[in-house]
Every structure is written in structure tokens, then in C-alpha cells.
């Protein structure tokens, strides 16, 4: 119950104009990307919408990662700010060895 209430107050604080600007830039950008990338997509990928699909995948990835980032309290970033690059290297090295 308490956590539910906290979640609600968190959502109330969402900056509407910020979200609207982001969404319009994303949609407009996707339309323009579709138009601008069509010739080169046919040449490189053989599919006029190739780059659009790739971009859509990245947007979906970014939105899901963004949701996770949104759920992390911002103090955490300050506390672990220096460790993050080291972690990234460590994870990468263990992944490849």
C-alpha cells in the first residue's frame, strides 16, 4: 500500500512537456530517417526499411533500459558513479575470456 502510494506520487511528478517533446522528436525523427535512409538502405541492406527497423530495435532497447534507469533512485548514480566504468570493463573482459 505504502509503496503503491509512493509510485503514484512518482508518476505525478512526470514532466509532461518533456515527455511530449521527446515523443514528437522520436516520431518525427523516425519518419525523416525512413525518408533519408531509403536509398542507402536499398544499396547496403537490400531493404528500403532496413535502417528503420534497426533504429526501431534501438529505440525499443533504449526505452526498456530507460524504464529501468527511471526506476533507479538518482542518489545511486552519485554513489556508484566512479565504479560504473570499471564494472563495464570487468563485465566485458569476463564475457570475452
Amino acid at each position: 500500500m505504502a509503496s503503491n502510494k509512493r509510485q503514484n506520487s512518482l508518476l505525478n511528478g512526470i514532466d509532461n512537456l518533456f515527455v511530449i517533446a521527446t515523443i514528437f522528436l522520436l516520431i518525427g525523427g523516425l519518419v525523416m530517417l525512413a525518408s533519408a535512409s531509403m536509398p542507402i538502405a536499398v544499396k547496403n541492406l537490400g531493404d528500403p526499411y532496413g535502417y528503420v527497423y534497426k533504429q526501431l530495435t534501438s529505440i525499443a532497447l533504449g526505452l526498456s533500459a530507460g524504464l529501468v534507469a527511471f526506476l533507479i533512485p538518482s542518489r545511486i548514480w552519485e554513489k556508484f558513479g566512479i565504479l560504473l566504468p570499471i564494472l563495464a570493463i570487468a563485465a566485458h573482459n569476463s564475457f570475452h575470456s
Partner: protein, 296 residues
């Protein structure tokens, strides 16, 4: 540190003469500077928050975070990625200014940075040739000035209302990188001045909201959150301004994307994560009590 990865053979991917990408398994190529930039912004904001006292009195307080930033910049320059170096150093300087760095130290800092950038341009022949191509693009319109002249042709033929969506001529292989760094020129060609004004007002709205959130956080004594928002705001505005400047021939060519619009897997994903952090900070700011129902 993350930036060292691109120098590992087999992982670094070279495109257009710059090794900036890493490839891990089936994932799309990652441009390393994107996550690294976000982590550096977080680090610098945290540093400004922790060293609040020293920052206002001591010039040396600027030198300490350079232990992290200068190696990162050298790695970026090795890739080579001059534009990102300029952006990271400028955001750092801007954030120090907001955090209360003394104005005469700040001026000294700007002069040092300016000299450093001038030196970096001078020692690399390709940067000099780009600078020459930027100053007089039409002199060598098929050589170094090729990209810029075609970008200018695209913007110019757009006129006020543009040639219409999908009708661009320049995107048909006249303008290289039409879907990444030079997408703004295609927007200007297809949608004209009206389209670019619309895009710019959306960016303006977004960036102004980021700064509003940041200053609200600082007013509520959430210094780290405020600094982080402001550094993100400065980064986003610089990135947009530099990309537009490059497209319109006001700045020399650099490999910088237009955030949220250009094609680029890691660029767009990391930008969305960055914006999500700002959104979270906005939600953590104390909200004004909504008593509309009671009072009405």
C-alpha cells in the same frame, strides 16, 4: 576506461577512417563514446557535488577530475573523435561555472581549452584540411568540401516549405551520411524552413525542461541531481548546436549525431537512458501540493 576497448583487435570496428565502434556478439555496433560520455557526466556531477567547498576557492580543484577526463579525451582523440572531446571538455567547464568556480579561474580555463583545441587542430593534417574545406567549401567542391557543399545545396533547395517528404534529391547518394550526421540537411531539403523551425522548437522545449528540472533540483538542495541535469542539458544543446552548425557550414565537419533523430544504435539508446534519468530527477523534485479539488 571503457574507451580502451575499441583498441582491442577484432572488437573495434572501423568506419569512415575512425575506430569508434565495438561489436559484441549479435548486438548492434556500440559507439563507445555514448555510454562513456554518460558515465563521465555522472562522475563530474558527483565530483562537483562532493567538492563543493574546494571548487569555489581553489583552482587546483579543477585539475583533480582531469585524472579521469584527460585519459578519456586522449583515447577519444586516438580513435580519432575530436568533436566528442570538445563536447566533454566544454560540458565540464560549463558545469564548473554553474557549480561556482571563480570567474577569473573560469576565464583562464577557457583560454587553456581554446589553446589546446587550436593545437590539436594544428597537429593533425586532416583537421587542417577540414578547416580549410569549411572556410572555403566551394573552392574544392568535389574534394574536401564535397560533403558540406552538398549539404548546403540540400538546405538551399529546401526553401521555405521544402520539396516535400520523400522528394529529396540529395539523399540519392549525393550527400554522404544522409541518414546519420547529415540528416538535418535532408530535413531542411524535404520540409524546408518550417520543418527545421519545428524540429528546433522541439529541441528548445526539451532542453529548457531539462534546465528547469535541474535548477529546481538545485533550489531543493539536491545538488548532485541538479548538476547532473544541467550537464545533460549542456551536452544535449551542444550536440544539437554543433550538428546543426556542421550541416549549415558554420562549424568544421565533425562526426557528431543529431540526438534522437540520426540513425545510430547506441546514440539513440543511450540518449533515451539519459533522458530517463532526467525524468526520474524531475519526479524526485518536491512537487507543489495539488489542492485543486479541495479549494474548488
Amino acid at each position: 576506461m571503457l574507451l580502451t576497448i575499441v583498441f582491442i583487435p577484432d572488437i573495434g570496428v572501423t568506419a569512415n577512417g575512425a575506430t569508434r565502434w565495438i561489436k559484441i556478439g549479435p548486438l548492434p555496433n556500440i559507439q563507445v563514446v555514448d555510454p562513456a560520455r554518460l558515465l563521465l557526466l555522472i562522475y563530474i556531477s558527483g565530483y562537483c557535488y562532493r567538492q563543493q567547498e574546494a571548487l569555489t576557492s581553489d583552482f587546483m580543484s579543477f585539475v583533480k577530475p582531469m585524472i579521469f577526463i584527460i585519459p578519456a579525451c586522449l583515447l577519444l582523440l586516438g580513435q580519432p573523435d575530436f568533436g566528442s572531446t570538445v563536447i566533454i571538455l566544454s560540458v565540464t567547464a560549463g558545469l564548473f561555472f554553474i557549480a561556482g568556480f571563480k570567474i577569473r579561474y573560469f576565464l583562464a580555463l577557457i583560454i587553456i581549452l581554446g589553446l589546446a583545441f587550436a593545437f590539436l587542430i594544428y597537429i593533425e593534417p586532416y583537421r587542417m584540411s577540414r578547416l580549410a574545406g569549411f572556410l572555403e567549401p566551394w573552392k574544392d567542391a568535389l574534394g574536401v568540401g564535397y560533403q558540406l557543399t552538398n549539404s548546403l545545396i540540400a538546405i538551399g533547395s529546401g526553401g521555405i516549405f521544402g520539396v516535400g517528404l520523400g522528394e529529396s534529391i540529395q539523399k540519392l547518394f549525393y550527400l554522404p551520411e544522409a541518414h546519420t550526421d547529415f540528416i538535418f540537411a535532408i530535413i531542411a531539403e524535404e520540409l524546408g524552413l518550417m520543418g527545421t523551425i519545428l524540429i528546433l522548437s522541439l529541441y528548445g522545449l526539451l532542453i529548457s525542461r531539462i534546465f528547469v528540472i535541474g535548477f529546481k533540483a538545485i533550489q531543493s538542495e539536491l545538488m548532485f541531481q541538479g548538476y547532473l541535469c544541467i550537464s545533460i542539458g549542456i551536452w544535449l544543446s551542444l550536440q544539437v548546436i554543433i550538428n546543426l552548425g556542421v550541416n549549415m557550414g558554420l562549424l568544421p565537419t565533425k562526426g557528431l549525431t543529431l540526438p534522437l533523430i540520426s540513425y545510430g544504435s547506441s546514440s539513440i539508446a543511450i540518449t533515451l537512458i539519459t533522458l530517463a534519468i532526467v525524468l526520474r530527477i524531475g519526479c524526485e523534485n518536491p512537487q507543489p501540493k495539488k489542492n485543486l479539488r479541495n479549494s474548488g
